[in-house]
């Protein structure tokens, strides 16, 4: 694998404006943060306009990268547009703030900007009348900035920095309704769980950086892939018995990714994160931030390719997450939670697609995964925005309290249907193509995974349409407050995303985003039969159970009994974590630590003081006040000294 070169003259025609793409939202954040109060209503519009500019720039960059610069001898070269030596540790080792353009990052650039813009527009209506309206947009801008920085970063620790920043902005946005205890708890949970994962990420970075001798992605990849003499690859030494340092490093880095992408068993924060405003969920917890884990693994893919074991772990983590999340999604009644679990499930797809290369047959999973990431961004954000519109209309998250909404909100209904089709993998919607590629990769590499994925896709179709039917069909209710579907600012994003969800599937994605030496992906029509049929079966089942309101579902639930309950309670993961934190961390470690400090360490100091005082009290009789005893002691002293001289020092 030859040194990925960076062509300066290419770099030239980006560096001028490319930095603006993330910096504009930052500017918006600072502006709104400082003088949000003054421009209350116009704050949103301002932020949205800035986002628009940034999006246009992003698209122009993409155009520039893919079509103007184009391929250089067969591949799209990674371009380090520019970098600034931000925090030098030691010669060679430093955090550089830079911009690294390669197909993946450019693709993400577009996605993040576009979705973010849509959310900005949507929120104009959705968040109208919030008293912290400006703050909301400030946080949105902050998040967009951080996400873009993450996407563009060309340096491990730069990525970590923005990784943390997206984490904190997600914390702020989840906790936006800060006076709701539930929201606060969810925000804390999200931050701490991801922080725990980031610990792994950080240590992984330390290992990689130390042995790679650099933090820069390109150089790092070159160092580790080119030279096999790198101490990382030689297994046990310095590492933990049996497992090579490389494995450790990659697993730890993946741990970070798994945390952000809410993979089992670190997924617990994502469903709770739905406490945040719905557009936020659409942006952060569906389209962009949660896929950061996938993006991270993709970034370091050449290194991951060195270590089969980790890739296989990734595969199974992804596959299992996809499956379990899908099952849980079937039992949830809070529409946002359903979507959250479906998000987990879909990201599971992306991750195991990446991992599949571990079985060493084909590496097509890479572009498949990123393709799914790409399409998923559109239809999932669409779903969330649709859900947002619905919630905005009915003022509840409970699907059981909905039904027949198609009458009142046709646009939402239509777009939502499209999105459901897309996620269920019905041709010709976007989801179909990406999912097909993933399934194909699975088929080529590991049949078990393929099987699991197939079943999951069926379940996906089922629960999505369960959702769809119970919102828009089922029994028709009357809603007290009959205001319309919502202003155009809410409709436009839905429509735009809808069209995207229809069209993006036709993009020959693999031509743009692929590994350097990857073979063409061609899906034989015959292959598509099984998935599609299964998807349709799922839809059919959903139709039977939920098209008209009937007692069927309850019966089914009762029939399944304990199983149903276990799934409904999300396999008791939250309880498990609660036990670990409360019983083990707090009661088990922290309480004793505090006790020791108060009673042993501190007690020792005070005890020493008291002991001295008591000793002083005990010898006071010496000073008896009798002049004769004084004289006696005097004489005794002389004798003692004489004795000392005689017997000790001679």
């Amino acid at each position: 694998m030859q040194r990925p070169f960076t062509i300066d003259d290419i770099a030239m025609n980006y560096s001028s404006y490319i930095a603006l793409i993330p910096l504009l939202p930052l500017a918006a954040f600072v502006m709104l943060g400082l003088l949000g109060k003054q421009l209350s209503r116009s704050a949103g519009i301002l932020a949205t306009l800035i986002m628009l500019v940034s999006t246009v720039l992003a698209c122009y960059t993409a155009y520039n990268y893919f079509f103007v610069t184009g391929k250089v001898n067969g591949v799209y070269p990674p371009v380090a547009a520019f970098h600034y030596n931000w925090l030098p540790f030691s010669p060679g080792l430093s955090i550089d703030m830079g911009v690294l353009l390669d197909p993946a990052s450019v693709m993400m650039l577009v996605v993040v900007n576009f979705v973010s813009l849509m959310v900005h527009v949507f929120s104009l209506a959705y968040m109208k009348g919030e008293n912290r309206f400006a703050t909301y947009y400030a946080f949105l801008a902050l998040f967009t900035f951080s996400m873009l920085g993450l996407v563009l970063s060309g340096n491990l620790l730069q990525m970590y920095i923005f990784w943390e920043l997206v984490g904190v902005s997600s914390f702020l946005l989840i906790g936006f309704y800060y006076d709701r205890p539930a929201a606060v708890a969810a925000a804390k949970k999200a931050f701490i769980v991801t922080r725990f994962a980031d610990l792994g990420f950080l240590i992984g970075i330390l290992i990689l950086a130390f042995y790679g001798g650099t933090l820069d992605f390109n150089t790092l990849i070159y160092q580790l892939t080119a030279t096999n003499s790198s101490p990382l690859t030689q297994s046990p030494q310095a590492g933990f018995p049996g497992i090579s340092l490389l494995t450790w490093a990659l697993m730890l880095v993946f741990m970070g990714g798994a945390g952000k992408s809410a993979m089992f068993p670190l997924h617990i924060w994502l469903p709770d994160a739905m406490e945040g405003p719905t557009p936020v969920s659409a942006l952060i917890h569906a389209a962009t931030m949660v896929v950061a884990g996938v993006y991270l693994v993709a970034r370091l893919y050449p290194i991951y390719l060195l270590d089969v074991a980790v890739l296989q772990i990734i595969t199974w983590v992804g596959a299992i997450s996809a499956f379990l999340a899908a099952i849980i999604a079937c039992t949830q009644t809070d529409i946002k939670r359903v979507l959250a679990y479906s998000t987990i499930s879909q990201i599971g797809y992306m991750l195991f697609a990446l991992g599949l290369a571990g079985y060493g047959h084909t590496t097509t999973g890479y572009s498949a995964s990123l393709f799914h990431l790409f399409t998923h961004a559109f239809f999932k954000s669409l779903l969330f925005l649709g859900a947002g519109a619905v919630i905005h209309f009915v003022h509840t998250n409970e699907m059981l309290e909905m039904g027949g909404l198609r009458k009142w909100m046709p646009v939402t209904h239509l777009t939502f249907l499209i999105a459901c089709m897309a996620i269920a993998g019905i041709p010709p919607f976007a989801g179909f193509f990406s999912k097909e590629e993933i399934l194909l990769a699975a088929w080529e590499n590991n049949r078990y995974v393929f099987l699991l994925a197939l079943i999951t896709s069926g379940i996906t179709a089922f629960y999505m349409f369960r959702l769809y039917f119970s919102i828009f069909w089922s029994r028709t209710r009357s809603y007290p407050h009959q205001h319309g579907e919502g202003s155009w600012t809410m409709k436009v994003p839905l429509v735009l995303l809808g069209t995207a969800a229809v069209l993006v599937g036709f993009i020959p994605f693999a031509d743009f985003v692929a590994l350097d030496n990857q073979k063409e992906i061609t899906i034989p029509l015959s292959f598509s039969i099984a998935p599609v049929t299964i998807a349709i079966a799922g839809i059919a089942l959903a139709y039977l159970l939920y098209y008209k309101y009937n007692p069927g579902p309850q019966k089914l639930a009762l029939a399944l009994g304990g199983l149903y309950k276990m799934v409904k309670r999300k396999f008791y993961f939250d309880e498990l974590y609660l036990f670990i934190t409360k019983r083990i961390i707090f009661d088990g470690i922290a309480k004793p630590a505090a006790w020791i400090d108060k009673h042993l360490v501190d007690g020792f100091m005070n005890g020493a003081g008291r002991a001295t005082a008591r000793f002083a009290e005990s010898i006071k009789a010496w000073q008896s006040g009798r002049v004769q005893s004084y004289a006696l002691y005097f004489f005794g002293g002389i004798i003692a000294l004489a004795a000392l001289i005689v017997y000790w020092w001679t």
């Binding site: 005097f634 005794g636 002293g637 000294l641 004489a642």
Partner: protein, 469 residues
């Protein structure tokens, strides 16, 4: 020859003259207390001034009486202390009806100390010692009506008589072993035989008694508590200082040959002294008694310095005594004023002192900090150099013990500071008007505390003088 006599013994002569003047005044015209105090203070000031001019080194009466710059300086330090004390005690003496006697006795002791300091011979040394201690007993009794005062005097006279008895026994043994009483000759003859060493122990005990080294210290607290404040401060500063000067010179010259054994003794004694002083000081309630024990601890630190047995050590001791004069007298100045006006001498009486007397509180606090050795007060430098001198011998165990004991001493000094600044008190000491004399005295002390440390050349000067060690 005759001129020699007048020049070398100038300071002693001046004191003698002053004593006689006071005596005649006492017999003849009876002046009012104010007048008498003015006169006395004026004379003491004169004495101090005269002490600085026209000195030169030399010896008299075949080496019985030595005079050299260091000795002169030491004497001047003592005269300074005397002046300050007399200024401070004016508030108390005003109401007393034996002012001249007080000064006569005071000056007699001072005279004795002078002789002791410049003694070149055990005989003169003994006479000086007695002359400096016997009148002191009488002074301790100067609050004639108070039980405690007379008790203190009794304890002091008995103990000191006993001590001097042992000292004499030691001297007699030295004489028996060497056949001479002159320091210079002794220095050559001392070889460290058992008899000599035992004799030395007795001598050491004699010194240790005067500077109240544990276990020869037991009289200190009671006498300090019982005696009038003026006498207490005199005891704790001037008499102690004088004996220290002699002690150092005798150790470093006469007993140099047996330095090994007395080094070990001082090691033990210093540790004992610091510990005991601190431990007892922790739980005192009477402020004079408290200062007595704290001064014992101070002596311990000085001993640590003395173990260094070098020019550095000698200089540091003299330097420390100078600083000690300022710090301790500043403290005693405030206490004297308070007890003279209100008669309150308990530590608890000082609770909330800052509310009523901010100035006095700051003076007392600075004095305490200087005693505790907190920069930028001079006490810090004094202690630092003492311990450094001690460390010079390479005995870091001793230095560590001493240094860690600073924590203890810190504790009780800060306890008083806490009482002054932080505690609340329903009937605090009322607001006091500081008489001019005390003002002057306190001013001298505080400037001393500030300047002596920060101005490096003071130490340099003393160091240059103590070159003979």
């Amino acid at each position: 020859m005759m001129s020699d006599f007048f020049i070398l013994m100038k300071q002693e002569l001046v004191i003698t003259v002053i004593i006689f003047i006071l005596l005649l005044l006492k017999i003849g015209a009876d002046l009012s207390n104010e007048k008498m105090l003015q006169l006395a203070n004026a004379l003491l000031l004169l004495n101090l001034v005269l002490g600085f001019i026209g000195n030169r080194p030399g010896v008299l009466f075949n080496e019985m009486f030595l005079a050299n710059p260091l000795v002169v300086l030491e004497k001047n330090i003592l005269s300074l202390g005397t002046l300050i004390i007399s200024l401070q005690s004016s508030a108390w003496l005003k109401k007393h009806d034996h002012v001249p006697e007080f000064y006569i006795l005071l000056l007699c002791t001072l005279l004795g100390m002078f002789f002791m300091i410049s003694s070149g011979n055990l005989l003169i040394f003994y006479v000086g010692l007695e002359l400096s201690s016997i009148p002191l007993a009488a002074m301790a009794n100067f609050d004639l009506g108070r039980k405690r005062s007379s008790e203190a005097a009794m304890k002091f006279i008995i103990s000191s008589a006993f001590a001097s008895g042992l000292l004499l026994f030691g001297i007699s043994l030295v004489y028996g072993a060497t056949g001479t009483l002159t320091f210079s000759e002794l220095g050559a003859l001392i070889a460290g035989g058992p008899l000599q060493t035992f004799a030395f122990v007795l001598l050491l005990a004699g010194f240790a008694f005067k500077i109240s080294v544990v276990p020869f210290h037991l009289w200190t607290a009671d006498v300090y508590e019982g005696a009038p404040v003026a006498v207490t401060s005199w005891l704790s500063v001037v008499s102690k200082g004088s004996v220290l000067f002699v002690f150092v010179s005798v150790l470093y010259t006469v007993f140099k040959p047996i330095a090994g054994s007395w080094y070990n003794m001082l090691f033990v004694l210093s540790v004992l002294t610091i510990l005991t002083g601190n431990l007892f000081a922790i739980r005192q309630h009477n402020i004079k008694r408290f200062l007595a024990f704290s001064s014992i601890a101070q002596i311990g630190f000085i001993l640590v310095g003395i173990t260094g047995s070098s020019q550095l050590a000698a200089a540091s001791v003299v330097y420390f005594v100078l600083i000690y004069v300022f710090s301790n007298l500043a403290a005693f100045g405030v206490i004297a004023l308070v007890s003279a006006v209100t008669g309150r001498e308990q530590l608890n009486d000082y609770r909330g002192f800052y509310r009523t007397n901010p100035v006095l509180s700051w003076v007392l606090t600075i004095a305490l900090f200087s005693l505790a050795g907190v920069p930028p007060t001079a006490g810090f430098f004094g202690k630092f150099f003492l311990l450094l001198a001690g460390a010079g011998k390479g005995n870091y165990i001793l230095v560590t013990i001493a240094a860690l004991n600073m924590i203890l001493s810190f504790y009780y000094y800060l306890r008083l500071v806490k009482a002054i600044f932080m505690d609340v008190n329903e009937q605090p000491i009322e607001q006091l008007s500081i008489p001019a004399y005390s003002k002057l005295a306190l001013f001298i002390c505080i400037t001393g505390i500030i300047v002596t440390g920060l101005a490096g050349y003071v130490y340099d000067y003393i160091h240059s003088l103590s070159s003979k060690f």
